[in-house]
Amino acid sequence: MITVTLGTNNTPATFEKIKTVLQLLNNLHLRVNDALVIRDGELLTPDRHLRPGDHVAIRPVVSRG
Protein backbone atom coordinates (compact mmCIF):
# COMPACT_ATOMS: atom_id res chain seq x y z
CA MET A 1 0.00 0.00 0.00
CA ILE A 2 1.30 3.47 -0.99
CA THR A 3 0.32 6.51 1.12
CA VAL A 4 -0.08 9.72 -0.85
CA THR A 5 -0.51 13.32 0.27
CA LEU A 6 -1.84 15.57 -2.47
CA GLY A 7 -1.05 19.28 -2.40
CA THR A 8 -1.76 21.06 0.86
CA ASN A 9 -4.43 18.51 1.77
CA ASN A 10 -3.23 16.95 5.00
CA THR A 11 -5.47 13.90 4.69
CA PRO A 12 -3.46 11.19 2.95
CA ALA A 13 -4.97 8.74 0.49
CA THR A 14 -3.84 5.16 0.06
CA PHE A 15 -3.35 3.21 -3.14
CA GLU A 16 -2.98 -0.52 -3.77
CA LYS A 17 -1.30 -2.13 -6.76
CA ILE A 18 0.60 0.98 -7.79
CA LYS A 19 4.06 0.03 -9.06
CA THR A 20 5.47 3.24 -10.55
CA VAL A 21 5.23 7.01 -10.29
CA LEU A 22 3.65 7.11 -13.76
CA GLN A 23 0.89 4.74 -12.65
CA LEU A 24 0.26 6.91 -9.62
CA LEU A 25 0.07 10.09 -11.73
CA ASN A 26 -2.30 8.39 -14.17
CA ASN A 27 -4.43 7.26 -11.26
CA LEU A 28 -4.66 10.87 -10.08
CA HIS A 29 -5.38 12.12 -13.64
CA LEU A 30 -2.16 14.13 -13.65
CA ARG A 31 0.26 14.47 -16.54
CA VAL A 32 3.99 13.94 -16.12
CA ASN A 33 4.87 17.59 -15.49
CA ASP A 34 1.68 18.64 -13.70
CA ALA A 35 3.16 17.94 -10.27
CA LEU A 36 6.31 17.24 -8.32
CA VAL A 37 6.44 13.74 -6.88
CA ILE A 38 8.48 13.57 -3.69
CA ARG A 39 9.56 10.59 -1.58
CA ASP A 40 11.83 10.99 1.44
CA GLY A 41 12.95 14.43 0.26
CA GLU A 42 13.81 13.16 -3.23
CA LEU A 43 12.18 14.16 -6.51
CA LEU A 44 11.05 11.15 -8.53
CA THR A 45 10.82 10.80 -12.31
CA PRO A 46 7.80 8.92 -13.74
CA ASP A 47 9.73 5.69 -14.34
CA ARG A 48 10.73 5.28 -10.68
CA HIS A 49 9.31 2.26 -8.84
CA LEU A 50 7.20 2.64 -5.72
CA ARG A 51 7.29 0.12 -2.92
CA PRO A 52 4.63 -0.94 -0.44
CA GLY A 53 4.91 1.30 2.61
CA ASP A 54 6.16 4.31 0.64
CA HIS A 55 4.90 7.75 1.62
CA VAL A 56 4.71 10.05 -1.39
CA ALA A 57 3.85 13.74 -1.60
CA ILE A 58 2.30 15.08 -4.80
CA ARG A 59 2.75 18.82 -5.22
CA PRO A 60 0.85 20.33 -8.18
CA VAL A 61 2.83 23.09 -9.87
CA VAL A 62 0.20 25.25 -11.56
CA SER A 63 -0.12 28.76 -10.09
CA ARG A 64 -3.54 29.52 -8.72
CA GLY A 65 -3.26 33.28 -8.50
Partner: protein, 302 residues
Protein backbone atom coordinates in the same frame (compact mmCIF):
# COMPACT_ATOMS: atom_id res chain seq x y z
CA UNK B 1 15.98 7.37 -15.97
CA UNK B 2 19.55 8.67 -16.08
CA UNK B 3 20.79 12.25 -16.15
CA UNK B 4 21.56 13.28 -19.73
CA UNK B 5 24.77 15.05 -18.67
CA UNK B 6 26.38 12.92 -15.98
CA UNK B 7 24.57 9.57 -15.98
CA UNK B 8 23.44 9.74 -12.33
CA UNK B 9 19.81 8.96 -11.41
CA UNK B 10 17.60 11.72 -12.81
CA UNK B 11 15.36 13.74 -10.49
CA UNK B 12 13.59 15.71 -13.22
CA UNK B 13 12.23 14.51 -16.55
CA UNK B 14 11.82 17.16 -19.25
CA UNK B 15 10.06 15.67 -22.29
CA UNK B 16 10.29 18.96 -24.17
CA UNK B 17 14.09 18.74 -24.04
CA UNK B 18 14.21 14.93 -24.51
CA UNK B 19 16.19 14.89 -21.28
CA UNK B 20 16.33 14.02 -17.63
CA UNK B 21 18.65 15.71 -15.16
CA UNK B 22 20.04 14.97 -11.71
CA UNK B 23 19.70 17.83 -9.18
CA UNK B 24 23.10 19.40 -9.90
CA UNK B 25 22.77 19.21 -13.69
CA UNK B 26 19.19 20.48 -13.53
CA UNK B 27 20.39 23.57 -11.68
CA UNK B 28 22.97 24.12 -14.41
CA UNK B 29 20.25 23.68 -17.07
CA UNK B 30 18.02 26.16 -15.25
CA UNK B 31 20.73 28.80 -14.96
CA UNK B 32 21.67 28.40 -18.61
CA UNK B 33 18.07 28.93 -19.70
CA UNK B 34 18.01 32.19 -17.73
CA UNK B 35 21.40 33.25 -19.10
CA UNK B 36 20.17 32.59 -22.63
CA UNK B 37 17.02 34.65 -22.07
CA UNK B 38 19.04 37.56 -20.65
CA UNK B 39 21.60 37.46 -23.45
CA UNK B 40 19.20 37.06 -26.38
CA UNK B 41 16.95 39.88 -25.26
CA UNK B 42 19.58 42.21 -23.78
CA UNK B 43 17.70 42.18 -20.49
CA UNK B 44 20.47 43.24 -18.12
CA UNK B 45 23.69 45.11 -18.90
CA UNK B 46 26.74 44.48 -16.69
CA UNK B 47 26.49 46.34 -13.37
CA UNK B 48 22.86 47.33 -13.73
CA UNK B 49 20.63 47.29 -10.66
CA UNK B 50 17.58 45.04 -11.03
CA UNK B 51 14.42 45.18 -8.95
CA UNK B 52 12.63 41.83 -8.66
CA UNK B 53 8.87 41.87 -8.11
CA UNK B 54 8.53 39.36 -5.28
CA UNK B 55 5.11 37.94 -4.47
CA UNK B 56 6.51 35.14 -2.32
CA UNK B 57 5.44 32.43 -4.77
CA UNK B 58 7.73 29.96 -6.48
CA UNK B 59 8.47 31.96 -9.62
CA UNK B 60 9.49 35.21 -7.98
CA UNK B 61 11.65 33.55 -5.32
CA UNK B 62 13.28 31.30 -7.93
CA UNK B 63 13.96 34.41 -10.02
CA UNK B 64 15.56 36.22 -7.09
CA UNK B 65 17.75 33.21 -6.35
CA UNK B 66 18.93 32.54 -9.90
CA UNK B 67 19.63 36.18 -10.76
CA UNK B 68 21.68 36.50 -7.60
CA UNK B 69 23.54 33.25 -8.32
CA UNK B 70 24.32 34.56 -11.81
CA UNK B 71 25.98 37.59 -10.21
CA UNK B 72 23.38 40.25 -10.89
CA UNK B 73 22.79 43.15 -8.51
CA UNK B 74 19.24 42.40 -7.33
CA UNK B 75 16.85 43.61 -4.67
CA UNK B 76 13.25 42.56 -4.15
CA UNK B 77 10.06 44.53 -3.74
CA UNK B 78 7.09 42.89 -2.06
CA UNK B 79 3.70 44.57 -2.21
CA UNK B 80 1.72 43.85 0.97
CA UNK B 81 -1.87 43.84 -0.24
CA UNK B 82 -3.57 44.14 3.15
CA UNK B 83 -5.71 41.00 2.69
CA UNK B 84 -6.64 39.48 6.08
CA UNK B 85 -5.17 36.05 6.90
CA UNK B 86 -3.13 36.10 3.70
CA UNK B 87 -0.89 39.14 3.25
CA UNK B 88 0.75 39.03 6.69
CA UNK B 89 1.94 35.39 6.50
CA UNK B 90 2.99 35.76 2.83
CA UNK B 91 4.98 38.87 3.69
CA UNK B 92 6.54 37.25 6.77
CA UNK B 93 7.59 34.18 4.78
CA UNK B 94 9.06 36.35 2.00
CA UNK B 95 10.95 38.54 4.47
CA UNK B 96 12.31 35.46 6.25
CA UNK B 97 13.51 33.90 3.00
CA UNK B 98 15.24 37.08 1.88
CA UNK B 99 16.80 37.67 5.30
CA UNK B 100 18.14 34.10 5.48
CA UNK B 101 19.62 34.38 2.00
CA UNK B 102 21.03 37.87 2.30
CA UNK B 103 18.72 39.46 -0.27
CA UNK B 104 17.67 43.09 0.11
CA UNK B 105 13.88 43.29 0.27
CA UNK B 106 11.65 46.35 0.30
CA UNK B 107 8.00 46.14 1.34
CA UNK B 108 5.27 48.53 0.24
CA UNK B 109 2.10 48.33 2.32
CA UNK B 110 -0.97 49.17 0.31
CA UNK B 111 -2.96 50.02 3.45
CA UNK B 112 -0.51 52.86 4.14
CA UNK B 113 -1.08 54.14 0.60
CA UNK B 114 -4.87 54.11 0.91
CA UNK B 115 -5.17 51.06 -1.33
CA UNK B 116 -5.70 48.03 0.92
CA UNK B 117 -7.15 45.49 -1.51
CA UNK B 118 -10.24 44.60 0.60
CA UNK B 119 -11.23 48.29 0.57
CA UNK B 120 -10.47 48.52 -3.13
CA UNK B 121 -12.63 45.44 -3.72
CA UNK B 122 -15.56 47.08 -1.94
CA UNK B 123 -15.14 50.40 -3.72
CA UNK B 124 -14.46 49.32 -7.30
CA UNK B 125 -17.04 47.36 -9.27
CA UNK B 126 -14.61 45.54 -11.52
CA UNK B 127 -12.84 42.15 -11.28
CA UNK B 128 -10.49 42.59 -8.34
CA UNK B 129 -7.61 40.64 -9.94
CA UNK B 130 -7.40 43.16 -12.81
CA UNK B 131 -7.51 46.11 -10.43
CA UNK B 132 -4.97 44.57 -8.05
CA UNK B 133 -2.68 43.86 -11.01
CA UNK B 134 -2.92 47.47 -12.15
CA UNK B 135 -2.01 48.75 -8.68
CA UNK B 136 0.92 46.37 -8.32
CA UNK B 137 2.31 47.19 -11.79
CA UNK B 138 2.09 50.89 -10.99
CA UNK B 139 3.98 50.60 -7.71
CA UNK B 140 6.59 48.13 -8.95
CA UNK B 141 7.44 50.47 -11.81
CA UNK B 142 7.26 53.58 -9.65
CA UNK B 143 9.55 52.14 -6.97
CA UNK B 144 12.05 50.99 -9.59
CA UNK B 145 12.03 54.38 -11.33
CA UNK B 146 12.33 56.44 -8.15
CA UNK B 147 15.11 54.30 -6.71
CA UNK B 148 17.38 54.09 -9.73
CA UNK B 149 16.80 50.52 -10.89
CA UNK B 150 17.56 49.91 -14.57
CA UNK B 151 15.10 47.05 -14.91
CA UNK B 152 12.09 45.50 -13.23
CA UNK B 153 12.17 41.69 -13.37
CA UNK B 154 9.03 39.61 -12.98
CA UNK B 155 8.68 35.85 -12.56
CA UNK B 156 6.53 35.22 -15.63
CA UNK B 157 7.36 31.77 -16.98
CA UNK B 158 6.80 29.97 -20.28
CA UNK B 159 3.32 28.80 -19.23
CA UNK B 160 2.28 32.37 -18.35
CA UNK B 161 3.67 33.76 -21.58
CA UNK B 162 2.22 31.12 -23.91
CA UNK B 163 -1.20 31.35 -22.23
CA UNK B 164 -1.17 35.11 -22.69
CA UNK B 165 -0.01 34.80 -26.29
CA UNK B 166 -2.73 32.24 -26.97
CA UNK B 167 -5.38 34.56 -25.48
CA UNK B 168 -4.10 37.47 -27.57
CA UNK B 169 -4.15 35.33 -30.72
CA UNK B 170 -7.70 34.13 -30.03
CA UNK B 171 -8.80 37.78 -30.07
CA UNK B 172 -6.22 38.83 -32.69
CA UNK B 173 -5.48 41.68 -30.34
CA UNK B 174 -3.01 43.57 -32.50
CA UNK B 175 -1.90 46.07 -29.86
CA UNK B 176 -1.24 43.42 -27.23
CA UNK B 177 0.50 41.13 -29.73
CA UNK B 178 2.76 43.99 -30.78
CA UNK B 179 3.66 44.69 -27.15
CA UNK B 180 4.14 41.11 -25.95
CA UNK B 181 7.63 39.84 -25.30
CA UNK B 182 10.15 38.94 -22.63
CA UNK B 183 11.72 42.42 -22.58
CA UNK B 184 10.05 45.81 -22.93
CA UNK B 185 12.38 48.80 -23.25
CA UNK B 186 12.39 51.72 -20.84
CA UNK B 187 10.42 54.75 -21.95
CA UNK B 188 9.92 57.96 -20.03
CA UNK B 189 8.93 57.05 -16.47
CA UNK B 190 8.55 53.38 -17.40
CA UNK B 191 11.62 51.32 -16.52
CA UNK B 192 12.64 48.32 -18.63
CA UNK B 193 10.47 45.27 -17.91
CA UNK B 194 12.12 41.86 -18.18
CA UNK B 195 10.97 38.24 -17.81
CA UNK B 196 14.15 36.16 -17.38
CA UNK B 197 12.19 32.94 -16.66
CA UNK B 198 10.25 33.00 -19.91
CA UNK B 199 12.10 29.92 -21.26
CA UNK B 200 11.24 27.83 -18.17
CA UNK B 201 7.97 26.11 -17.32
CA UNK B 202 6.06 26.16 -14.05
CA UNK B 203 7.18 22.59 -13.47
CA UNK B 204 10.79 23.62 -13.91
CA UNK B 205 10.56 26.58 -11.51
CA UNK B 206 8.74 24.39 -8.98
CA UNK B 207 11.44 21.70 -9.28
CA UNK B 208 14.17 24.34 -8.96
CA UNK B 209 12.58 25.70 -5.77
CA UNK B 210 12.30 22.23 -4.30
CA UNK B 211 15.88 21.30 -5.12
CA UNK B 212 17.24 24.63 -3.86
CA UNK B 213 15.22 24.46 -0.64
CA UNK B 214 13.24 27.61 -1.45
CA UNK B 215 10.30 27.70 0.94
CA UNK B 216 7.79 29.61 -1.17
CA UNK B 217 4.16 30.44 -0.44
CA UNK B 218 1.84 27.79 -1.90
CA UNK B 219 -1.72 28.84 -1.07
CA UNK B 220 -3.78 30.72 -3.64
CA UNK B 221 -4.85 34.31 -3.09
CA UNK B 222 -8.24 34.19 -1.32
CA UNK B 223 -9.61 36.62 -3.89
CA UNK B 224 -8.29 34.92 -7.01
CA UNK B 225 -11.04 32.36 -7.61
CA UNK B 226 -8.66 30.68 -10.05
CA UNK B 227 -5.83 32.42 -11.82
CA UNK B 228 -6.44 34.07 -15.16
CA UNK B 229 -5.63 32.04 -18.26
CA UNK B 230 -6.06 28.78 -16.30
CA UNK B 231 -8.20 27.20 -19.02
CA UNK B 232 -5.73 28.29 -21.69
CA UNK B 233 -2.89 26.78 -19.68
CA UNK B 234 -4.82 23.51 -19.53
CA UNK B 235 -5.31 23.46 -23.30
CA UNK B 236 -1.65 24.18 -23.92
CA UNK B 237 -0.64 21.51 -21.39
CA UNK B 238 -2.69 18.98 -23.36
CA UNK B 239 -0.91 20.05 -26.53
CA UNK B 240 2.48 19.87 -24.82
CA UNK B 241 1.70 16.40 -23.52
CA UNK B 242 1.02 15.01 -26.98
CA UNK B 243 3.72 17.09 -28.70
CA UNK B 244 6.52 17.97 -26.25
CA UNK B 245 8.19 21.26 -27.09
CA UNK B 246 5.13 22.93 -28.63
CA UNK B 247 4.91 25.70 -26.05
CA UNK B 248 8.50 26.77 -26.61
CA UNK B 249 8.09 26.50 -30.39
CA UNK B 250 4.87 28.56 -30.32
CA UNK B 251 6.40 31.36 -28.26
CA UNK B 252 9.85 31.49 -29.85
CA UNK B 253 8.37 31.41 -33.36
CA UNK B 254 6.11 34.30 -32.41
CA UNK B 255 9.13 36.30 -31.22
CA UNK B 256 11.13 35.43 -34.33
CA UNK B 257 8.48 35.67 -37.02
CA UNK B 258 5.14 36.90 -35.71
CA UNK B 259 5.67 39.85 -33.42
CA UNK B 260 7.25 42.08 -36.05
CA UNK B 261 3.99 42.17 -37.99
CA UNK B 262 2.16 43.72 -35.03
CA UNK B 263 4.79 46.26 -34.02
CA UNK B 264 3.25 49.71 -33.99
CA UNK B 265 -0.28 48.30 -34.32
CA UNK B 266 -2.73 50.11 -32.13
CA UNK B 267 -0.29 52.91 -31.37
CA UNK B 268 -1.76 55.27 -33.95
CA UNK B 269 -5.29 54.81 -32.72
CA UNK B 270 -4.37 54.47 -29.06
CA UNK B 271 -4.38 57.27 -26.50
CA UNK B 272 -1.34 59.48 -26.09
CA UNK B 273 0.24 59.04 -22.67
CA UNK B 274 0.58 62.11 -20.49
CA UNK B 275 1.73 62.65 -16.90
CA UNK B 276 -1.03 61.97 -14.38
CA UNK B 277 -2.17 65.26 -12.86
CA UNK B 278 -1.81 63.79 -9.35
CA UNK B 279 1.14 61.37 -9.31
CA UNK B 280 2.97 62.36 -12.50
CA UNK B 281 3.22 58.82 -13.88
CA UNK B 282 2.20 58.05 -17.48
CA UNK B 283 -1.54 57.94 -17.98
CA UNK B 284 -3.96 57.77 -20.88
CA UNK B 285 -6.26 60.17 -19.02
CA UNK B 286 -5.75 63.34 -17.01
CA UNK B 287 -5.73 61.26 -13.81
CA UNK B 288 -4.22 57.75 -13.92
CA UNK B 289 -6.14 54.58 -13.08
CA UNK B 290 -4.45 54.07 -9.72
CA UNK B 291 -5.17 57.62 -8.54
CA UNK B 292 -8.79 57.20 -9.67
CA UNK B 293 -9.03 53.93 -7.67
CA UNK B 294 -7.67 55.71 -4.60
CA UNK B 295 -10.33 58.41 -5.00
CA UNK B 296 -13.05 55.76 -5.16
CA UNK B 297 -11.73 54.13 -1.97
CA UNK B 298 -11.65 57.50 -0.19
CA UNK B 299 -15.16 58.29 -1.37
CA UNK B 300 -16.48 54.89 -0.20
CA UNK B 301 -14.88 55.38 3.22
CA UNK B 302 -16.10 58.95 3.69
Amino acid sequence: MKCKRCGETAAVKLPSHHAGFCPDCFELFFKRQVETAIRRHAMIAPGEKVLVAVSGGKDSLALMRVLSDLGHDVAGLHVHLGIPDSSDPVCARTEAYCRENGFALHVLRMAELGLAIPKVKDAVHRPICAVCGKIKRHYFNRFAYENGYAALATGHNLDDETARLFANVLRWDEAYLGGQGPSLPAEGRFVRKIKPLYRLTEFETAAYCFLKGIDHWKAACPYSGGASFTSHKRLLADLEYTSPGQKTAFYEAFLAKGRQHFRGEGNDAGPVLQPCARCGYPSSAEVCGVCRIRSLVEKAGA
